[in-house]
């Protein structure tokens, strides 16, 4: 009997015990499975070039895409505003999924409500659900702002958010002057990064549309959809503090997704103050740290007379340099000496470690801005990107990536894949492997199948804890990313060399 009170074995060990191994063997007779040889042959076949061609011939079938749908991004964005309740108009299952998904990454609660549309709402429209939903949410959770996004059902039947919210006011479900931001976020268009964009724009519109702009020297910063928001936004605030510039982070969910365990559950915490959102109209400029998370928002800010600029997830030395120089250019303030010191320290660390990183090949997947920023930093570290894949990447992104790789001798091996999924990535890595893989937890299946070590550096990270509490942006963030990559490389080297003992060195 494998189990004992002294040494309790859970799933990770229990099923390797002989009793269960026998059970698995015996069960096979009932499973009607294919002969072992056939399974082995197919398992070998999926690693071939021939299979890769078959796999890339797919036009309708999507397998393991590394993207989510718009309203997830909208909920994430809504969570970044002060005392704001994310509110989905549609079926309730969607909202349950968004909440679970974000919670599994952050290990934090993620409150959000739904209008719970059902069959009758599909037939008659969801107006009554909207009215009841707003009234209940307003009265029970007492938010300062409700941010309404949509899920499939509401979009397919064509519910009009603006009209519905207006009706809810007429009916007295919410006070006449209570702010409700909204964004139509159909899941069959774009991905979560688009939903993020539209909800940030929705919140800004709610406060800016009818206001007059009186320009100030302040700047707005839009961080974009970022699984590392907790560490990154705090780092961003520190950097801007060093600069001494006045700024507003638009959609700052760093406190919402990082509340303390001290006996009190805070449903809302932190977030961009609504007065600052309104004040943001007067800003001199709006800077986005992720272009593909802010296309519409920047257009809107520009239409209001602001300067705009965007980046691709600024990681590493030159990407951070560019960001700081842009801030300096807009505000007229020099880059502070303290940050220059930090820059030097990052370069110092890179110089110390470069021998272990140099020439290592790496494939990267994730949202378009992340893949760009990561590939750029990897090349600064002397690593060579092989496959750069973004399921939600666009043609414009491909052109930007091509240019990035072409202009750099470390990018010579780089291939760019937009609109492809992680089953494509499997074929790519099986036929043209890289030594390492950078991405989200979903990459662990590729690691298992192909033996390519995964370095988790982007959302979602379900199977490791707390990475998001540390920054990846800026010079300090660069250090963290460097250490994460280096640790994996050296851990793998130790495991490999331990097999013979040769080169299992104390000093590396």
């Amino acid at each position: 009997m494998p189990q004992s009170a002294e040494k309790i074995l859970d799933h990770s060990k229990l099923f390797n015990e002989p009793e269960y191994q026998k059970l698995f063997e015996d069960k096979k007779q009932f499973e009607g499975c294919h002969p072992e040889e056939l399974v082995a042959a197919q398992a070998a076949h999926i690693n071939t070039w021939e299979y890769r061609e078959k796999n890339f011939a797919r036009e309708a079938l999507t397998v393991n895409p590394a993207k989510a749908c718009q309203p997830l991004g909208a909920v994430f964005a809504a969570a970044g505003f002060e005392h704001t309740l994310p509110f989905n108009h549609g079926s309730q299952g969607c909202t349950a999924y968004f909440r679970s998904h974000l919670t599994r990454h952050f290990k934090e609660p993620c409150p959000a409500v739904s209008t719970s549309m059902t069959e009758d709402a599909a037939v008659f429209g969801g107006l009554q659900n909207m009215i009841d939903g707003l009234q209940n949410a307003y009265q029970v959770y007492k938010p300062k702002l409700i941010a309404v996004s949509t899920t499939c059902i509401a979009e397919v039947i064509g519910d009009d958010l603006n009209a519905f919210i207006g009706k809810a006011r007429e009916k007295g479900a919410i006070p006449e002057d209570f702010p409700v931001a909204y964004a139509h976020t159909p899941s069959f268009v774009g991905s979560h990064v688009v939903g993020y964009d539209l909800m940030v724009k929705g919140v800004l519109s709610c406060f800016w549309d009818k206001a007059e702009r009186t320009p100030t020297a302040k700047i707005n910063i839009i961080p974009g959809f970022d699984g590392y928001v907790v560490g990154n936004n705090r780092e961003l605030k520190r950097i801007l503090g060093e600069f001494g510039v006045e700024f507003t982070i638009m959609a700052d969910s760093s406190d919402f997704f990082d509340t303390p365990t001290d006996g009190t559950y805070r449903m809302f915490d932190g977030g961009t103050k609504l007065t600052d959102v309104a004040e943001g109209l007067n800003a001199k400029a709006t800077i986005s740290l992720q272009q593909y998370c802010s296309t519409k928002t920047l257009e809107y800010a520009q239409s209001k007379g602001q300067d705009v600029a965007s980046f691709h997830y600024p990681m590493g030395v030159s990407a951070t340099d560019e960001l700081l120089m842009k801030i300096s250019e807009i505000t007229g303030k020099p880059v502070p000496a303290t940050l220059e010191r930090e820059r030097g320290r990052l370069v110092d660390a890179m110089a110390d470690s470069s021998a272990w990183l140099h020439g290592k090949t790496v494939s990267i997947f994730g949202d378009p801005d992340f893949v760009y920023g990561m590939a750029r930093f990897a090349m600064e570290l002397g690593m060579e990107p092989v496959h750069c894949l973004s399921t939600n990447g666009t043609k414009e992104w491909v052109a930007q990536m091509d240019e990035l790789l072409k202009g750099n001798s470390y990018g010579a091996k780089g291939q760019v894949w937009a609109g492809k999924d992680l089953w494509h990535m499997r074929s790519l890595l099986a036929t043209e492997p890289s030594e390492f893989l950078i991405g989200s937890s979903y990459g662990k299946y590729l690691e298992k199948d192909l033996g390519i070590p995964l370095i988790r550096l982007t959302f979602p990270i379900f199977d490791r804890h707390h990475h998001h509490r540390f920054p990846t942006f800026g010079y300090q963030g660069g250090l963290r990313v460097l250490v994460t990559i280096l640790d994996k490389i050296l851990d793998v080297l130790d495991v490999e060399t331990a097999k013979t003992g040769i080169s299992y060195d104390l000093v590396r």
Partner: protein, 479 residues
């Protein structure tokens, strides 16, 4: 239960209801109650639409059909048919363990989707579905079948997935099961279970009823065990040890061949009554196969279940059951001796899906833990009737609880442990209250069977008696 405590809990319900708009309070009042011993049910309404805006914990029909019932069938490719999200969020989240090679003869941990774009909504997705099935045959040729799990738009745009499935099934000679589990159908996951059962009946079980099978008098099917963290394996081992032959598992670590064998058992054993009673009733009506509920949580219920299962068979099996119970008794005794002193007198609140709020209750009882509150996301009235034998007088009962209500109940009752889901976990812990996820076993498990009981017990202890809970208050803050 003292009258005072009951009155206090009733007052707590009133207090919570006061926060709602009048119409909502009236509706929610029917779902909250303090259980009166001797009553035939828990005195709450259930399986009713959730109220917009209150933050229900519930999911949808798709979650019930794909996420629960069909998703674990390992040698089929399950298409999340529609936009990318539903399949994404349910991708590999339920820990339905299987033996197999991913992408070769097993697809449980993969996200297969038609990734609908605007043009698919406008022009319909049937052509795309046809093409997808061809492509599945090309890239996953060893699949034994395909299921088409409908997301919300499918039913709204008028796609005919049944016609496509019929046509393509004929072409490829495999099962293609169209499942109408659009998320807006019904009021929770529950209708999704029912729809999934019906499709299983029509597209798998009945069609295969004529297939030859070499049966024995001891053939049973495990129904409604999804092998979360290996639960079904930890159950199967006991059934086999007592001399039964498990000819199929539905649907944890299941294969098409096992599903097709539905009409061949001598007895169907159902664990999750809520999600798969429908198919058991069908097999009873059509094939005359009796079924029985069992409960493999905790030694009292395991022993009771093993005996009641054995009662359907001859002496050989009855002796087998006694042998199994005797074999594991020393393990049970050792686990209880080690942990009960650490857990005795603790109080737990539960809020889970459609089965566990009653099923795990006696396992806690075995450890001396008292259930002071319990409720279901998507139970029906028959579940609340079945609950009465597992709970005590004065237990707080909440159906389709809102996050607001649950938070208030936890805050006021201050239990020593809460067992619920991922969405409830972290907020509860922030209040300084220990928590275990009772859907996913908090990434642990199995919890079924004797092997599982040891793990279950260890996990409750590590939650309740964790040193972290003594650190939540800064020492310089006055108590």
């Amino acid at each position: 239960m003292s009258l005072d405590v009951k009155e206090e809990r009733k007052a707590l319900i009133e207090e919570v209801l006061k926060e709602y708009p009048e119409k909502t309070a009236k509706k929610r009042a029917k779902h909250l109650n303090v259980y009166e011993e001797g009553k035939p049910d828990c005195g709450v309404k259930s399986n009713i639409k959730s109220i917009p805006g209150v933050m229900t914990v519930r999911g949808c029909a798709y979650a019930g059909a794909k996420g629960v019932v069909w998703g674990p069938v390992k040698d089929m490719v399950h298409i999340s048919h529609g936009p990318v999200g539903c399949g994404h969020y349910s991708w590999s989240q339920r820990r339905n363990y299987v033996n197999g090679t991913m992408g070769v003869d097993s697809w449980v941990t993969m996200q297969i989707t038609s990734d609908f774009q605007e043009k698919d909504i406008v022009f319909g997705g049937d052509k795309k579905l046809e093409k997808m099935i061809d492509e599945i045959e090309s890239v996953f040729p060893l699949n034994k079948g395909i299921s088409v799990m409908s997301e919300c738009p499918i039913g709204l745009i008028g796609d005919d997935i049944e016609a496509v499935s019929k046509k393509k099934a004929k072409e490829i000679g495999k099962v293609i099961a169209p499942v109408r589990c659009e998320g807006f159908r019904g009021v929770s996951q529950s209708l999704g279970h029912h729809i999934a059962n019906d499709v299983m009946r029509d597209y798998v079980v009945d069609k295969a009823a004529g297939k030859e099978f070499d049966g024995t008098p001891y053939d049973v099917v495990i129904v409604g065990d999804y092998n979360i963290g290996g639960d079904a394996w930890a159950s199967r081992i006991l059934l086999e040890e007592m001399g039964l032959r498990v000819i199929a598992q539905w649907s944890g670590d299941a294969s098409v061949a096992e599903m097709e064998r539905g009409s061949k058992a001598k007895l169907n054993l159902i664990h999750c009554y809520r999600s798969m009673n429908y198919i058991c009733r069908h097999m009873e009506e059509k094939y005359g196969i009796p079924w029985t509920e069992y409960n493999f949580f905790g030694p009292s219920q395991i022993a009771k279940s093993l005996r009641s299962i054995a009662a359907h068979f001859d002496d050989k099996i009855k002796e087998g059951a006694e042998r199994v119970i005797a074999k594991y008794q020393p393990l049970v005794d050792a686990v209880i001796a080690k942990y009960r002193p650490r857990l005795e007198g603790k109080r737990i609140m539960l809020y889970v899906g459609g089965l566990r709020p009653r099923h795990v209750s006696d396992a806690y009882g075995d450890l001396g833990i008292e259930v002071i509150g319990t409720g279901y996301e998507f139970a029906h009235n028959d579940d609340y009737q079945r609950t009465t034998e597992h709970i005590k007088d004065g237990t707080l009962v909440y159906d389709d609880v809102s996050e607001f209500e649950l938070e208030k109940f936890i805050e006021k009752l201050r239990p020593d442990l809460v067992g619920s889901g991922i969405k409830e976990k972290y907020g509860t812990q922030k209040m300084g209250v220990p928590f275990r996820q009772l859907h996913s076993w908090d990434y642990s498990g199995p919890y079924h069977g004797y092997d599982g009981f040891a793990i279950f017990t260890r996990d409750m202890d590590l939650a309740v008696n964790n040193p972290v809970w003594s650190l939540t208050k800064a020492p310089w803050k006055a108590a």
